[in-house]
Amino acid sequence: MSLSSHTGVMNFGFLQTKNAPAINRSVGIIGAGPSGLAAAGLLASQGYEVHVYDKLPKPGGLMVFGIPSHRIPADRISRGVRDLERRLGVTFRTNTKICCSAPMHEEEGDHFAADILGLSDLTDNHDAVVICSGSWKSRKLTIEGSDLAGVYSSLQFLFPIRAIKYAHSNVSMPDVKGKKVIVIGAGHSAVDVVDSARTLGAEDISLVYRRTVAEAPCGKFEIDRIQEMGVSWLEKRTPEAILGSDHAEKLVVHNGVTGEREELDADIIVSAIGEIPTPPFQKELGLENVRKGDVRWLNMTAMDNVFVAGDVLSGPSKIGKAVYSGLRAARSLANWLDLKAQSREAEYNFDADKISR
């Protein structure tokens, strides 16, 4: 038998063996990132009618709009999405934000949303909903001067670089050509910011971290690599203030080795110190309990038939964790609807499910 080939495709429908008959159940998925697409693939493979909603103009989430394209080939994701559409019949509704408690335009990418729906629009129209909305808010610096022009969070900096392709008038690229850029943090997004700033023609780049290279989450290999590219690595420096009249001019840091206060010249300062999950209806959904595992059903929120998966549940992590969570939530959802259809909800054994968590 010849193996079906999906070369060049991130095959979210990898579980499908043959065309599953439609089962007359509809699921709405909020967010087309790794967890949402993995959940969509599993459910569509089982014959579900799947609708995926995303605020951005293109599915893929941070795989497309956050992580630079030299790390993840964008066409591999878009071919995977097309495969979901054509082979598995998944419907995508982009530029559509599912309304949440937080004010609009607080998260990166909100300005792309042309259509706004409430969660009840989804629960009314689908048999179940999976929330996979990710972590789209950057943790912000709280030091003096953090609101000056020229100070960015990692997502504020990285997002427009990928989003500009969609020619939205609200998106403008950070202008770094010939400028001095300081990046704060030593995680993978800090490294991504450094790489992107370099590609965009920054004159001088420094990476400032409060601990040492041994503790850098991105690891010594990456730090060595960017140093070889000419980036200055400044460790044991804790940011204390940003100085400037209307625009960032200097970053003041405390040098943990010498105990001295240092002033570093900068035109642009990017803080890459982590992201925060952005769940719609945090309280109503009882996400705190889902996180603790205190739920009636794996990955189900306090609302009946509303499930949650990925970074929005467990905080920013990695694509693999999001994929796993999306697959688990999708399987849990299908099992829940099956049991419910027979009015046997009480038979769920949460402890058995916990074993392989």
Binding site: L3, I72, A216, K220, E222, I319
Partner: protein, 167 residues
């Protein structure tokens, strides 16, 4: 003879995102491809290369490791007695045997045997966002190797076999 297919990971393309491990865990509970963090902080998946001369097969006293028609090196739990010496686990040059707490207590990649029987590729290959994992004929591996992939592979080997690779 049928094509002898195996996995090849280009470590220079891998971003350490853990998707391969995640889908393997979803399908098989104990993942047979596992992430490891090197001293230098690179996060890499360790995997079975289905060696032509498989050390695990050679050392297994029970004959529990054999090769199927497509070249996959398979572990047979029917013959395995889960020996305490874990010779297979120690013999594997790529650290691709995994201890479990269940049954015969080892697990290894079978190139998604059941998926292959249905005409599908291994799950990790399908879901890798970076196209870093290939399911290809053994003879074609050489053509995929680049300077960058070889260097990255050496770093991984220095991580799992430090003694052998120290100059």
């Amino acid at each position: 003879m049928e094509e002898q297919k195996t996995l090849f990971i280009d470590y220079s393309k891998c971003i350490g995102c853990e998707t391969c491990e995640a889908v393997c865990r979803f399908l098989y509970d104990t993942p047979r491809i596992a992430m490891s963090r090197t001293i230098d902080g690179e996060i890499v998946p360790l995997y079975c290369q289905h060696c032509e001369k498989a050390a695990c097969q050679r050392v297994c006293k029970r004959g529990a490791i054999h090769r199927d028609a497509q070249g996959a090196v398979l572990h047979d739990p029917m013959k395995c007695r889960g020996c305490e010496t874990k010779d297979c686990l120690i013999a594997c040059p790529y650290a691709a045997f995994f201890a479990t707490c269940k049954g015969v207590a080892v697990a290894k990649c079978d190139l998604c045997k059941k998926r292959r029987a249905e005409g599908l590729h291994p799950a990790c290959v399908e879901m890798c966002p970076c196209d870093a994992i290939k399911f290809i004929d053994r003879t074609a591996i050489a053509s995929l190797k680049t300077e960058a992939s070889e260097e990255a592979f050496k770093r991984v080997m220095a991580h799992i076999r430090p003694k052998k690779f120290v100059d």
